[in-house]
Structures are given as C-alpha cells and as structure tokens.
C-alpha cells in the first residue's frame, strides 16, 4: 500500500472511530436531560433527613437526577421520588445527620470527598478521601459517621488491596482517620499486623460501640469496638459488612459461601448466642445491608441485564419469605425519621 493510501485509510478510520466515540459521549450526556421510558418517576424537590416515615436512597434511574439523594414514603416506595440537589456515590443518614461519599472527576485524578450534611442537606464539613468510596454509615443518634474507601496505588494488576476506614465525631469534629490504629484483641491476644484492613462500620445507639469487618491473614472477622477505648475485639469469622438491627440484638452480614469464590449470602447472627441463619435471598449479595425495621433488611443487587445499575430488594430478617423488589434503579437505602 502506498503511503498516501495508508494515510487515507487512517483518516477514514479516525473519522469513523472518532464519530462513533463522539456519538457515545453525546448519547451518554443527553441521557441526563430526559427521563427514559420505564425509569421510575422522579421530581426535583426538598429532601429533609428528619421527615418521619420516609425512605432515602440514591436514585439510579436513567435521566435527570441520576445519582441524586431521593426520598419516598416508606410505605409507598413505588411512588414518585423526590430528588435533592445532593449527588453521592454512597449515602447514609440517621437522626438528621447524613454522610455523602462523593467522587468527582478532577483535573488529573478523581477527587474523593466525604461530606457531612445536616438535615437540610447543607454541608457541615468535608473530608478528603484517599480512594474510591465504598461504605458509609451514621450512628443511630446522628453523632458519629463512618466511611470506608478503597485505596489503590496503581492499576488493577497489582497483588495488593487496601482500605481505609474513618470515624468522625460530628459534635467535636474529632476524626479517627484510620481505624487500623485501634488495638485489636483477637481471640484474647493482642493482634499486630500490617495487613489489617477495616471496612463496613455499623454503630450502636450508645455512641461508643460499633461493629465492623476486619480482614487479616486472609480471613474476615466480625469485630466489636469502642470508639473511646480505641480498640476492637474479634467475635466471629467469615463475617463481612455487618449491620446492627435497630433493637441491637442481631447483626446482618454477608458470608462467603465457598472459600476462594466471590460469592456471598446474606445471613443474620444473634449477638446473644452467636447463632446464625441464612436469609431467603439466594443470590450473591455484595452490599452492606440496611435494616428498614426490626424485621426487614434492604440491600442492593445488580440490575438484571443492565451494567452500572443496582436495584434495592428487601427480605425478612428471620429467614422466612422471599426477596421483594423495593425500588428499581436505587442504592444506599436509609430509613429516615
């Protein structure tokens, strides 16, 4: 092929591929302007974190308000969603305090922040994050907020994985930036190791006790911790992303069902007896479930047939019943009020 012929072919390829790329970007950009058929109805409005009887989540439906914090009446989750201006990747709220983990594209790298918001969604504080938002929780009293980020130092090819979990006191703004500095009591012995990773904090009402996942030596442990004592103690193995029930008698969590496989089933453990039972959900749940009340759990699952979207499902906490779709195109559920 002569040089000019090759340049011609190149020019045609650039035009075709460039056109296709531009079309993809434009399609993806215009998607934000109009709602798509089949997406849940959403309208802009005011979301307050203290409105009783409502359910908050991040709206994942295609169209405007994608990624926005939205609320619906808890007894009519299919009704029109009220969307706020606040957009997050992860969200949780309790008693008028919200934590919003946000990742925005920056000039050179993504810019990750944790925002603590009040009941009117005004930002009270913002904390820079070292990595990609993963888990967020607020204590039942609204005083403490916790978040987990995934820290990656390079491309996905590295034999390496690290998280960072922080707890902030929204009254004093004292920040525990890295729970790995807490003392770990593992089966009665002080455990010191550098491969410790914390994630998935859940708080008790007493504003001191919390539960979390600790991974070390290739195993995940459920730990019970004290914020004031800056320490944690292991309770059980193979427990990830715990969630404390409102009556504080049980922990819901995901349990790896086969060693080595990325397959998890949602379980509930009685904290008094440490006995566990599986829930009716048979699909692999990779989320930190949220209690809607003492009998019901909500969690996200990837939308069937669509990438980059999750639906919220509920299942009874006692292992009976069947999973039920709570809200399509939604994530990060939190019961308000």
């Amino acid at each position: 092929m002569s040089k000019s012929r090759r340049l011609l072919v190149l020019a045609v390829a650039v035009l075709l591929l460039g056109g296709l790329a531009a079309a993809l970007v434009l399609r993806s950009a215009s998607r934000g302007e109009k709602p798509q058929a089949g997406s849940p109805a959403v309208a802009a409005g005011t979301v307050t974190l203290t409105r009783p009887g409502s359910l908050a989540f991040l709206n994942g439906g295609q169209g405007p308000h994608r990624g926005a914090l939205a609320s619906v009446p808890a007894d009519a989750p299919e009704s029109e969603r009220t969307a706020s201006e606040l957009t997050c990747q992860r969200f949780h709220a309790a008693a008028g305090t919200g934590v919003c983990l946000r990742s925005t594209p920056g000039a050179l790298a993504q810019d990750n922040k944790a925002l603590i918001v009040d009941s009117e969604l005004r930002t009270l504080r913002s904390f820079p994050l070292a990595g990609t938002p993963s888990r967020a929780r607020v204590s039942p009293s609204g005083r403490f907020a916790a978040w987990t980020v995934f820290v990656s130092g390079e491309s996905y090819g590295a034999a390496f994985f690290s998280t960072r979990t922080a707890i902030v006191d929204t009254r004093t703004w004292k920040l525990e930036a890295n729970l790995e500095e807490f003392a770990i009591d593992m089966d009665g012995r002080q455990h010191r190791a550098q491969d410790v990773n914390f994630w998935g904090v859940t708080f008790s009402k007493d504003d001191d006790t919390f539960y979390a996942t600790v991974s070390t030596g290739g195993e995940t442990h459920l730990v019970k911790g004290s914020i004031s004592g800056r320490s944690v103690k292991t309770l059980a193995k193979n427990v990830e992303c715990p969630s404390l029930s409102p009556d504080e008698t049980r922990i819901a969590y995901k349990k790896r069902v086969r060693a080595g496989a990325s397959l998890w089933r949602e379980h509930v453990m009685d904290l008094g007896t440490l006995r566990e039972h599986a829930l009716a959900e048979k699909r692999s749940v990779d989320d930190q479930a949220a209690w809607l009340d003492d009998r019901t759990l909500a969690y996200g699952l990837p939308t069937d047939g669509a990438a980059d979207s999750t639906d919220l499902w509920t299942v009874p906490a006692d292992g009976s019943g069947t999973p039920r779709l709570l809200a399509p195109g939604a994530s990060s559920p939190a019961r308000l009020g």
Binding site: M1, V9, L10, A13, V14, L17, G18, A21, L24, V25, R27, S28, R66, G67, Q89, R90, P105, G106, A109, Q110, D111, N112, F127, P128, L129, A130, G131, T132, P133, S134, R135, S152, G153, E154, Y156, G157, A158, A159, T163, R192, A193, Q194, D195, W199, S215, G217, T220, E240, C241, S262, W264, S284, D286, Q288, G300, P302, A307, D308, S309, S331
Partner: protein, 463 residues
C-alpha cells in the same frame, strides 16, 4: 516493502536502502515511532478503563473491598506466562506484527464487553482476557523495536517508545475524567470510547508497522551476533537456529531453540539479574503507601503520587536510553537500581523534609527511566534476531514473576515485621542483588563484547 527495508538495522557497512541514499542512522526508526504511537494510543485506551474501574465496580456496582480485592493480583501470573507464549509464537510464525496485532486486537475487543458484564465473575474473565492481550503483544512489540534499530541506538529507541507509552498512560485518565464530567455516570461512554481508541491503535499498527521478524532480511551484522552467541554457548541447538542461510528462508524456530536461548551466557546473566532485582523491587502501590505513612501527605494527594513517578519517567526515558547507548547499558541499569535504593533509604531514614515526597517520587521515576527501556535494549544485544521476541519474553516473564513474588513476600514481611523492617529488608536485598548483578554483568557488559567471546572476531562499533 520499503518500510521493512528501512527498518532493518543500519549495518556498519555502506549498505544502501532502495528508497534512500547511503544509510545513515536516523534519529529514531520510523517503525519505533509507529510502535510508540500504537502504544500511546493503546495506553490511553487501557488507562481510561483503569482510572474509572474502581469507581465503577465499588461505587457503581457496590462491590465490597474484598470483592474488589479478589480482582486484584489475579492477572500477573496470566500476563507473565502469556508473554512467553506470545514471544515464542512471534518467532515461530516469523511474524511479530501478526502476534502483536492479535494481542492489541484482543485487548481492544475486551473493552466493549465491559459494558455487558455486571458482576464480578464476567468482569474478572474480561479483564483476564484483556491482560492476555497485553501479555501476547509485549514481547513481539519489543522485538520489532529492537529489530528496526541499529545496535548502537537500541537504548534511545526503547526510551522513545517508553516515553510515548507513558504519555498515553498519563492522557488516559484525563480523557476518562473529561468524559465522566461531560456525561452523567458515563462509564458506558468511557468503555465505548476506550474501545474506539483501542481500535484506532490496531489500525495504526496494521498500516504503519512492518511485520518484522523477517529473519531472512537480518543484516549481516545481526547474523554475526547470533553466530557469536551460539559459538559462545557451544550449543548445537542454538547454532541450528542461528545458522541462517543467506538464501531467503531461515530454518523454522522450534521450542527447544527457545529453551536453548538460556544457554547463551549473556542472556542467561541478564535474565538472572532481572529476576534477582525484580525480587527486591517493591511494587509501586507499596511505595506510595509507605510514602504516605512516612510523610503524612494529605489523602487528597494520594491518587496523584503515581502521576509524579510517571511524569519523571516520561521526561527522562529518552535521555536515559541515549545515555545508556553512550556509556553502557549496564552502568545506567545499575545506576537506576542505585537510585531506587536511594529512594528506599530516604523513605527509611530521611528526616521530615517538606521535599521528601518529591525526592522519593523523582528517584522512583528515574529508576524506571534508567531500567524499563534499558533492559530490553540490553537483551536485544544478546539475542539473535530470529529468536528476539522469545528472548525478550524470557527476561520479561522472569522479571514479572519475580516482581509478583516480591509483592507477596513484601506483603508477608510487612505483616510480620511492620513497614520499616520490611522496607529495610527489601533495601538490603536490593543492595545484595545489585552487587551480584554488577558482578555477573561485568564480564559481558553490552558495550564490550570481546570479553565474553572466547573466539577472536571482528570488533563491533561501540554502543
């Protein structure tokens, strides 16, 4: 094809190329520029995906840290072993471009597939295939670079290629973040555009890169090198493979020829050194984590640390390669590791200077500039043309597996002893391995071939 002719190494003699007057060594062979462009475009494509993948998987699909961790570290083994296969296949079919093209094509085909996968299993499969493509293409591509460049300019050629490659790696995230800011949750747009960019890379490869590996066209000098090496090895197998008749068709390359390569003392020495040094090279992620722990850099700066290393690498890759051609690749290669050692030293013992993060990142980038392209340049000087890709793959695979082993060992040491002692251990190991490398590489320093060859032979131009 005249491109192929022009890309043949300019030999010492006054050979004339059909389309030009007397061959004068060009600054950089057009093949190298074409391959550099392909790598740059491909790296834009793959780094676009890499930049948004954690957010897509963790925030978008809700994977837990352990779920995402399961994705990590799976591919190194795959990629390293595939590299060996790719290198050998390229030599076997004597069409480096074909194998490299298949590798680039496979990676490109995986990008749109990411749009369809929405759980960990399929995503793992797609990413593994993507890595397989990367593994396949690496060795034939490096062989093409070395075969298109005169021996005395190998370092610079690889420097140019690596600098272009890194430019792509820096542009990729920029493109991805630009698309994300223009769209609403536009991961699909990022993956789609990435696929288009990757396809463009394949087009450029097909149009502007000659197939290379046409050992029939190997210049007299390359053959002399091969024969020297084979005689040195006193190895009948290697002689078989390298005794290229002057008539067009070379003998077919067989698997045992590839294994016979390890009997070439100079290649074996390089491979041993690459493995030893790889075993003590702490993975980048650990370096950045250590740097943050040591200096308390704010969390918001953490994602920028790899960019610091890349920027220094980009600036210095070409000068370092050219320097290696002038003063010797061994010297530059070992200096690179000395700079890395200095970086470890700073992390371990330096006081809390405000400049510390910059110094460490600069040293880290200089280490890559002085080694990443210089090693293949040195390998090129030891392997006969018809086994070039295999030789590149042998050293590359050894290094990759060693670095993977180092990651595991360093993780273990970190767990047992803590950060400081683990890094001190790595530094001590690096010092020992560098000393061994300095000794092992000494008699066969690339710029002085006479010391290795027991038989008298013509002196080659200095490199």
């Amino acid at each position: 094809m005249y491109l192929a002719d022009r890309s043949a190494p300019a030999s010492g003699g006054a050979k004339t190329a059909p389309d030009r007057g007397p061959v004068r060594a060009p600054a950089v062979a057009s093949t190298v520029l074409a391959l550099g462009t392909v790598s740059m475009i491909t790296d834009i494509s793959s780094e676009m995906v890499t930049a948004v993948l954690p957010l897509y998987l963790i925030a978008g699909l809700g994977l837990s840290p352990l779920g995402f961790g399961a994705l990590d570290g799976v591919y190194n083994g795959v990629s390293a072993l595939v590299q060996l296969t790719g290198g050998h296949l390229a030599d076997r079919v004597r069409n480096h471009k074909l194998i490299a093209g298949i590798g680039y094509g496979l990676s490109a085909a995986c990008k749109p597939l990411l749009l369809l996968a929405h759980s960990l299993g399929p995503i793992s499969v797609i990413l593994t295939l993507e890595r397989t493509g990367k593994g396949l293409r690496t060795a034939p591509r490096d062989a093409l670079i070395s075969l298109s460049t005169p021996p005395e300019l190998q370092g610079r050629a690889f420097g140019v290629h690596r600098a272009m490659d890194t430019t792509g790696a820096l542009l990729g995230p920029l493109a991805a973040f630009l698309i994300l800011s223009l769209t609403v949750d536009g991961y699909d747009a990022v993956f789609g555009v990435s696929a288009c960019v990757a396809a463009l890379g394949v087009v450029v490869l097909m149009l502007f890169v000659p197939s290379g590996g046409r050992t029939a066209q190997a210049p007299p000098q390359a053959k002399a090198t091969a024969t020297d090496a084979a005689t040195t090895a006193a190895d009948a197998t290697a002689t078989d493979a390298t005794a290229v008749p002057d008539a067009g068709r070379p003998a077919p390359v067989r698997l045992r020829d590839a294994l016979g390569l390890l009997r070439l003392p100079r290649l074996r020495n390089l491979a041993v050194c690459a493995v030893l040094l790889g075993l003590t090279t702490v993975s980048d992620a650990f370096v950045y984590l250590l740097l943050q722990r040591r200096t308390g850099i704010g969390d918001q700066w953490f994602p920028l640390l790899p960019l610091g290393t890349a920027a220094v690498f980009l600036l210095l890759a070409v000068p370092a390669g050219a320097l290696a051609d002038r003063i010797g690749r061994r010297t530059v290669f070992l200096t690179g590791h000395a700079l890395l050692l200095a970086g470890y030293g700073l992390l371990l013992w330096a006081p809390d200077w405000p400049a510390l993060p910059f110094l460490v990142l600069a040293l880290h980038g200089m280490f890559y500039a002085a080694t990443d392209g210089v090693l293949p340049a040195a390998v090129a000087a030891t392997v006969p043309g018809e086994l070039r890709a295999t030789g590149m793959a042998l050293v590359g695979t050894g290094q990759a597996l060693a670095r993977f082993g180092c990651s595991l060992a360093f993780g273990g040491a970190w767990t047992l002893w803590g950060t400081g002692p683990a890094l001190a251990g790595a530094a001590a190991g690096l010092l020992c391995c560098a000393a061994v490398a300095g000794f092992v590489l000494r008699p066969s320093a690339p710029q002085d071939t006479r010391t290795t060859a027991p038989n008298p032979k013509p002196v080659r131009p200095p490199r």
